[in-house]
Point group: C2
Chain length 579, copies 2
């Protein structure tokens, strides 16, 4: 067919209100591309965050998007002119290396999780997982069964408990855990990673006694003058330091499980928030044997890991844009659930408690300077309104020295004073938020803060109205990584049961287009990756999903149930449902 057809159809789409595909073309279309995914209900995200529809995706030899076609692919005909006498016919151009008819299925960009914990996910998949337990008794039974499965463990390690989900009304205790397992040490992290639950054997193994003081930024829950069993934030180290570290082989198994989980749920890229040297080495081991598929934007866990992993500056993009350490992750406060989040006023449900900063103000600025002077990006966990004000102050001060395209990130930005909202855009700060936290937290957050202090809570729409780049993630393994749940929650502010009906603080709902943008273009931008992948525009890596429904027209409850049929990264299929 004629070469100008795509442009004609693009113009028709443009008239119909869509952006023209011509505007997205990185280069002229050669006669033959390397591959085509044909007959799709395709969506890409343009540089303004708007959805672009297409019917066929051309992929070049490098696995990059060559062109989005508004109509189905038509193979150019081979009609050479007759050669002069004695001359050979011109060679037939190389054909497509593959052509797939997707049968009209919906194709969207591979989704990016702007805030996750890759090895945390992986290790949770090979250790005891309590995230599905609905009561303390159920958790105890699961722990007991795990201890009795005969694996001969020296420690029992696990994650996922949540006393709120259990309706317990208090933290669990060492005695609660001793009732399940008392002969070997048990150490279980809370679902948010901001508290740990130890049995008496673990407390003994760590040498913690009634006389032990909590370190700055931490809290030991006490009962009858003794450690009660739960250790909050920096006090977790008191126990964690004696827990045997996973062996490299365990890390490799965990990482591969994490990758498979991510690919199956449609995540093709993820910002790893708090990468240790051990994590990094596991990523590289995988990559060195050709097994790294997910793209990882790594943020080092503190200065020591940053220096050891990357050295004097961020690493280059490695393994065809699959791995880079570009920044540092700092943790300024704790979480709302464990009342570790640093608030400007007392917790509504715990008078006298406001949480506290885990990094003193001068040290915070020193660490940030140390990273910024070597051009590392800085991503700071801030949940409470006091923590958000503090990091905004610090960024404002450092911005005078460290200019240019810094893309300061605030992770979570859950409770922000309304007066602080405009300050994000003022300093080019990215709000890195996790819609699914809202669905998990809304009851708890209302209890912790009270109705009067919710104006800047999980305030996605307010961020967009303030022209703040809004990158979305899941905080996996704190939450499920499923980005379709994230999109659904972003649109509805309802949880998995559809509660509260009509959504919590419904004025903060955002559109499907904005939600998709948060999980694609904006999440890539937040990791300095927007020229490489993220929104399926020509020139980017061909990372995309085939899914089982048209999420552009579906209601949130249906989007939530989306199944990923195929996941492609760099023009190669890396996951097929059911295989």
């Amino acid at each position: 067919m004629k070469a100008d057809i795509p442009m004609v159809r693009a113009a028709a789409l443009a008239r119909a209100g869509c952006l023209t595909i011509a505007a997205l073309a990185a280069s002229a279309l050669p006669a033959f591309a390397s591959g085509v995914i044909d007959n799709v209900n395709g969506m890409a995200v343009d540089p303004n965050g708007k959805i672009v529809h297409f019917r066929a995706l051309l992929i070049d030899d490098d696995g990059k998007v060559e062109k989005l076609l508004p109509d189905r692919y038509q193979e150019p005909e081979y009609k050479p002119k007759k050669p002069k006498k004695g001359q050979p016919w011109p060679e037939r151009p190389k054909g497509l290396s593959f052509r797939m008819d997707a049968g009209g299925k919906t194709l969207i960009p591979g989704l990016i999780d702007a805030h996750g914990h890759v090895m945390g996910l992986g290790l949770s998949l090979i250790t005891l997982d309590l995230s599905d337990t609905k009561s303390l008794a159920e958790a105890q039974a699961k722990i007991r069964a795990y201890a009795q499965d005969g694996a001969g463990r020296k420690w029992i390690i696990g994650t996922g408990w949540n006393q709120e989900q259990w309706g317990l009304g208090r933290f669990p205790t060492a005695a609660d855990l001793d009732a399940a397992v008392s002969d070997i040490p048990v150490w279980l992290e809370r679902v948010d990673g901001h508290a740990g639950w130890a049995n008496s054997a673990a407390i003994r193994a760590a040498g913690v006694t009634a006389a032990t003081k909590a370190p700055v930024g931490g809290r030991i829950e006490m009962a009858a003058g003794k450690p009660a069993g739960v250790f909050v934030d920096k006090a977790m180290d008191l126990i964690a330091k004696v827990v045997p570290a996973p062996a490299p082989k365990d890390r490799d198994i965990a990482f591969e499980k994490a990758q498979r989980t991510l690919l199956a749920t449609g995540i093709t890229g993820i910002a790893d928030m708090g990468t240790s040297i051990e994590d990094w080495q596991a990523f590289r081991r995988s990559a060195d044997r050709g097994a790294l598929r997910v793209r990882i934007m790594a943020y080092a866990a503190g200065i020591g890991n940053m220096t050891l992993i990357a050295g004097p500056e961020p690493t280059p993009w490695l393994y065809d844009d699959r791995l880079r350490l570009g920044g540092i992750k700092l943790v300024l406060d704790g979480a709302l659930g464990s009342r570790g989040a640093w608030l400007k006023a007392d917790y509504a449900d715990a008078p006298g408690q406001r949480g506290l900063p885990m990094i003193p103000d001068t040290q915070l600025r020193n660490i940030m300077s140390r990273a910024a002077m070597d051009n590392f990006q800085i991503a700071t966990h801030a949940i409470g309104d006091a923590a958000n004000s503090e990091i905004l102050d610090a960024i404002q001060e450092l911005s005078e020295t460290y200019k240019g395209d810094r893309r300061w990130r605030i992770e979570h930005a859950q409770i922000v004073s309304p007066s602080d909202l405009p300050r994000f855009a003022q300093f080019g700060i990215i709000a890195s938020m996790q819609p699914v936290h809202e669905a998990s937290d809304w009851r708890m957050a209302t209890a912790r803060l009270g109705e009067a202090r919710l104006a800047g809570a999980y305030a996605w729409k307010a961020m967009l109205d303030n022209r703040v780049p809004l990158a979305f993630g899941s905080d996996v393994p704190v939450e499920s990584p499923n980005p379709f749940v994230g999109i659904a929650v972003a649109m509805s502010r309802e949880d998995g049961k559809g509660e509260p009906i009509g959504g919590w603080l419904p004025q903060q709902k955002i559109s499907f287009e904005a939600a998709l943008d948060g999980f694609t273009r904006q999440a890539a931008y937040a990791g300095f990756a927007e020229k490489r992948f993220g929104s399926l525009v020509p020139g980017q890596r061909a990372d995309f999903l085939l899914i089982d429904r048209d999420i552009a027209t579906a209601r949130p409850a249906d989007i939530r149930a989306t199944q990923v049929l195929e996941t492609w990264i760099g023009g190669k299929r890396v996951y097929v449902k059911g295989q």
Copy 2:
């Protein structure tokens, strides 16, 4: 010309006493190779360690040796048969991508240093280097001048001193160093890395007092009941732990300087003995930006580094066979110079002293088991005869459990009881020795041991007679990395001044062919690399040197002065003299 010519000439060479080149051909010669280094006086080393002569080297598209030609290269003619009517002429085969006439120069395999310290070399190139000082006074003057050059250092760090070279007859003292610099701490490692010299400010900064005890495996030199200034072996940590670590940027600069030094002296591959995670990350940073040229066979500095760098097993060969961590380096005793080497009887010049093991016997076996069970190769520093017996015992015991191709390595193997010599071959142990140490040490070794205990000292010929794989290196930066000096010393056992005339223990001299084998094939074999590089046989990476003389016919004194004109790695030129 006719395709069978190479074989005809090979047969002629075979009749002349050379191995046939046909025996080395990895595959049939295609009509055109990718590149040719023509008109050379070429030498490769065959799988039996014999020299193979050739006139042209064909390099394939992957930068590997395609073929060695016994005569100059002749481009095949293009004489296709006339095609049938209507058919095109066959395409002319792709020509060479390059062809270089070397003007008859001598071409040898890139040399491999089987035992060096890459970052040690690099850091020595960016810190104070005392290796050229001939007296304490000269060293003091150099230190004083270095302190006054205005660099604003907080510490002065350096290497290379040798009280034997100074003719001092004793270790230098803190007071000697205070006389040069007293206002900031100074810490200078001895040339062998087995002792350090601190000034009073450094001793104070480290909190070392008269009451400080030396750790096991270490010794604090004392004077008038106080630390005298020199700290031997494990006692070095007392000071070293407070010395600021080099910044990653410094490491990168140091590594690049090390690479240039190695390439200029003809080293294309090196076993890095004692790689830390910081070293490894510097190697990878270089490689990730395409700047790694030298091939590095890394041996981790202890279990912690081994696990952190490689994880559950040796790394794959990375970056086109330029980097691999395949093993672990252990240090069982100290050095002769500082009387840290562990002897079976007292030092002849220090009655009552025998040195001591730095790793107790059970711990040694535990560490070795830990590494061997994950298939890491084990390279153990053993200098004294007691240390060599101990590591031989340990290998003998472990060999019952850890079978297969283990290639246990003993590094230095300097003083070996004659009765222990046959035990090397019995367990397939590689003797990794440094000829140049003999030239530096012969007077000192005679003094330390006395004439009667020299039968197994630096006993290269005895190793070969016992059929022990003998890999050669330099121990750079303890010695100059220059492998031509190593070859010359191996043949002559004379030092740079030609002393002692006729060589020290001349029965241990070896042939040129054996010396070249030690720096090529055997050094590659010692690193499990013999299928990848090392001796310039077809199928291996094309790593080679053009040098300014025919070292196969030169006398040792002339070999010592060899200049490297060009260094090629993987078929690419990476160094040209004078550029």
